[in-house]
């Protein structure tokens, strides 16, 4: 188990990077312009890539360097580029009708993090890992999950939903780097490519939405009920 006996420097480095990416998720939660979401997402992916490399270095997993490069390339460059192209195709640049103000959304996000912490703390205790970076990784994994779902529920624009899904994935990927660095590479690489295909499909669907529905807001997707 890597996380159980880490030297303090490595463990604080991991914590720093994990917390930075959580903060970036909050940046996404607190902004309403698409382009800001996108920058935050790209930055988050770069932090995760750096984390992979750090885990590879301290945990002696050379294959994680490859994962780090691929993460930076795909999650940090290609995915944001694809999303950026989708933004260019839309005629809206921000969330227009909001259920919750960004400020109240941040508070709800904080509550989510507290909940995630409570769950991970219990799990960490039962595993005998209380106080290690594993608890933090689990907390961030779960709270990015909750924040992603929060974005999916309170935002209406197609683009916010796509980025919400990407935050969900980023959270899992980040946690996986710390908790299960030995996960077979095949799976990680396939998941990376899978993500590209997913975003490409979203791009096509957004184009259909614009062409056939005339709106990309889920508030206008109200034909099918009952």
């Amino acid at each position: 188990m890597l996380v159980a006996h880490l030297d303090p420097l490595a463990s604080s480095l991991f914590s720093l990077m994990a917390i930075t990416s959580l903060l970036l998720a909050f940046v996404m939660l607190g902004s309403r312009w698409f382009i800001n979401y996108l920058y935050a997402f790209a930055a988050e992916s770069w932090v995760i890539a750096a984390l992979s490399a750090a885990v590879g270095f301290y945990g002696n997993y050379p294959e994680l360097y490859l994962i780090a490069i691929l993460t930076a390339l795909f999650r940090g460059l290609v995915l944001p580029y694809l999303v950026w192209r989708i933004i260019g195709r839309l005629n809206v640049a921000r969330e227009i009708r909001e259920i919750l103000q960004p400020s109240s959304l941040l508070v709800v996000g904080a509550v989510c993090v507290v909940f995630a912490l409570a769950v991970s703390y219990r799990i960490g205790q039962s595993l005998g890992l209380a106080g290690t970076v594993a608890v933090l990784a689990l907390t961030i994994m779960l709270s990015m999950k909750l924040i992603g779902f929060l974005m999916l529920t309170v935002r209406h624009e197609a683009l916010s939903e796509i980025l919400g899904l990407l935050v969900l994935e980023n959270g899992i990927f980040l946690g996986a780097q710390i908790l299960v660095p030995g996960m077979p590479m095949l799976i990680e690489i396939v998941i990376l490519f899978d993500l590209l295909v997913v975003v490409a499909c979203f791009g096509v669907l957004v184009r259909y939405l614009v062409a056939h529905v005339g709106s990309t807001s889920s508030l206008d997707l109200n034909r099918l009920v009952g």
Partner: protein, 488 residues
């Protein structure tokens, strides 16, 4: 032998998809897809029989053929064949010949991804295969390009992707659970996880199981994660509705069943089972409520799928040889019957030009033969004898009493009666209601391609309803043993 059959099952749809893309002639694409589905079906039947002697492993254990997986392949193959025959008649009605090659390429690809996920032996690859089924089928759901179908496709992909990401989290956490026992790097096969499960941390294993259950449960359409299902099923072309309902849902259920076996071994048996049973009962409740007050004919069928997946979840949740036998049997019966129902609904929709139940009237007078077929299917799907679903539901009820889930059994019985009344009431109105004005011109007749698969679905349903060979019973018993990991 089993390997060769599996190869046919995989290569036939892949070749058909490639052929459709290369040739791009609508009639050729139809033919290719039909031939592929025939080949898949012809290979799947012996594969199912052979699987009892298995499990067989291929490609350094990444591929497995076990009884449950082969059973799902059989269900998929049957629906694929029926839907391929049906779509020849149905898709010509849409009058979009120039786009048909794309439809059949996606159709064959969709079948391929479903078949593929049934044989994945690695939990991570299984997740990816399930994700692929979503991506391919989204474009089939939105194939008609109407505002409604694009809306359905968008809701489908967003809800499923969100749900399935929970399953990914659960998969990663299960890997973490296993890494305490098996070391940092190991192949996450179902067997490895199940063997490691007794030494896993029960709390973490339970959390992972719940995440996986909700994740794949979204794909299965268990309430309350079912919200995508009625939209996608009602807006896609009828053969795709049949595939979604009869093939796709089973494949996702297979994942839940495999994880359930792991959770059971990780000292979480009671809680894990009770949760699955609760999801099943909730799906039945939601299904019943929406069936009683439904306006759309295909949405009616979609909510009936929610109901039947609830019943299958109940069967697996209750467990034991009887529960698993009932659930597997119910999968097959539901696949056959729901194809029949969606074909009938597609025909009615096309002849009357409306999806609304109240606009479909005088079916009996206009379509005596096809109407009788569809009505027989409706009686079957509500669980009345002498059809297969009656038997499989009865087995699940018995299993519930045997394993102490009396409350679930009573709830299921009451809800099935409610559904019986509600569902058949809609059919009464469509067949015998004389209050509404008769349509002025006679509705359009439907080609024979659209009626033959209904016969093909109904005949085995009747046969399975009156005759349950003991070989099949042994097959299910063996399935129960391999799923729970006990020696037969």
């Amino acid at each position: 032998m089993a390997g060769a059959l599996l190869l046919i099952v995989m290569i036939a749809p892949a070749a058909a998809a490639a052929g459709c893309v290369l040739v791009r002639v609508p009639r050729v694409a139809e033919g290719l897809n039909l031939i592929a589905s025939l080949a898949v079906c012809a290979a799947a039947i012996p594969l199912t029989i052979l699987s009892a002697r298995g499990p067989y492993y291929y490609l350094s254990e990444y591929i497995i053929i076990d009884i449950a997986g082969a059973w799902v392949i059989l269900c998929t193959a049957i629906v694929y064949l029926l839907a391929s025959i049906y779509s020849i008649g149905y898709m010509r009605l849409l009058g979009e010949d120039e786009k048909l090659w794309g439809f059949y390429a996606l159709f064959a690809g969709f079948a391929l991804t479903i078949l593929l996920s049934a044989v994945m032996n690695n939990a991570g690859l299984y997740w990816i295969a399930i994700e692929l089924t979503t991506l391919v089928s989204t474009f089939l759901v939105g194939f008609e390009r109407a505002a409604e179908s694009i809306e359905a496709a968008w809701k489908y992909i967003i809800i499923i992707s969100a749900g399935i990401s929970l399953a990914l989290l659960g998969t990663v956490l299960f890997y973490w659970c296993g890494s305490f026992v098996l070391g940092q790097t190991y192949d996450m096969t179902w067997e490895a996880l199940r063997d490691a499960a007794p030494k896993m941390n029960p709390a973490l294993a339970l959390l992972s199981f719940f995440l996986v259950l909700v994740g794949y449960g979204t794909k299965v359409g268990l309430a309350p994660m079912h919200t995508w299902l009625p939209d996608a099923h009602s807006e896609s072309p009828a053969p795709i509705s049949a595939m979604l309902s009869g093939a796709l849902l089973n494949t996702a259920m297979l994942g839940i069943v495999r994880y359930l076996a792991i959770a059971n071994a990780a000292q979480n048996e009671i809680l894990a089972r009770k949760t699955l049973v609760a999801f099943g009962v909730l799906s039945l409740i939601v299904g019943a409520l929406f069936i009683v007050r439904q306006n759309g004919i295909k949405r009616l069928m979609a909510y009936s799928s929610v109901e039947h997946m609830g019943i299958v979840a109940l069967g697996f949740g209750i467990g034991g040889p009887l529960g698993i036998a009932g659930a597997l049997y119910h999968m097959l019966n539901h696949s056959l019957n729901k194809s029949l129902m969606f074909f009938g609904a597609g025909n009615a929709m096309r002849s009357y030009g409306s999806k609304e139940i109240r606009k479909i009237r005088y079916l009996w007078a206009y379509f005596p033969m096809q109407g009788a077929l569809w009505l027989a299917g409706a009686v079957a799907i509500t669980g009345a004898p002498p059809f297969g679903l009656f038997l499989s539901e009865l087995v699940i009820l018995r299993a519930g009493f045997e394993r102490g889930y009396d409350w679930a059994v009573y709830a299921m019985a009451v809800l099935l009666i409610v559904i019986f009344i509600g569902f058949l009431n809609h059919f009464r109105a469509m067949y015998f209601d004389t209050a509404g004005a008769a349509p002025e011109d006679r509705p359009a007749q439907i080609s024979r391609w659209c009626v033959v698969p209904m016969w093909l679905a109904l005949v085995p349903l009747v046969v399975f309803g009156v005759w349950w060979p003991s070989a099949m019973w042994d097959h299910f018993a063996a399935a129960a043993h391999t799923l729970t990991g006990a020696a037969p």
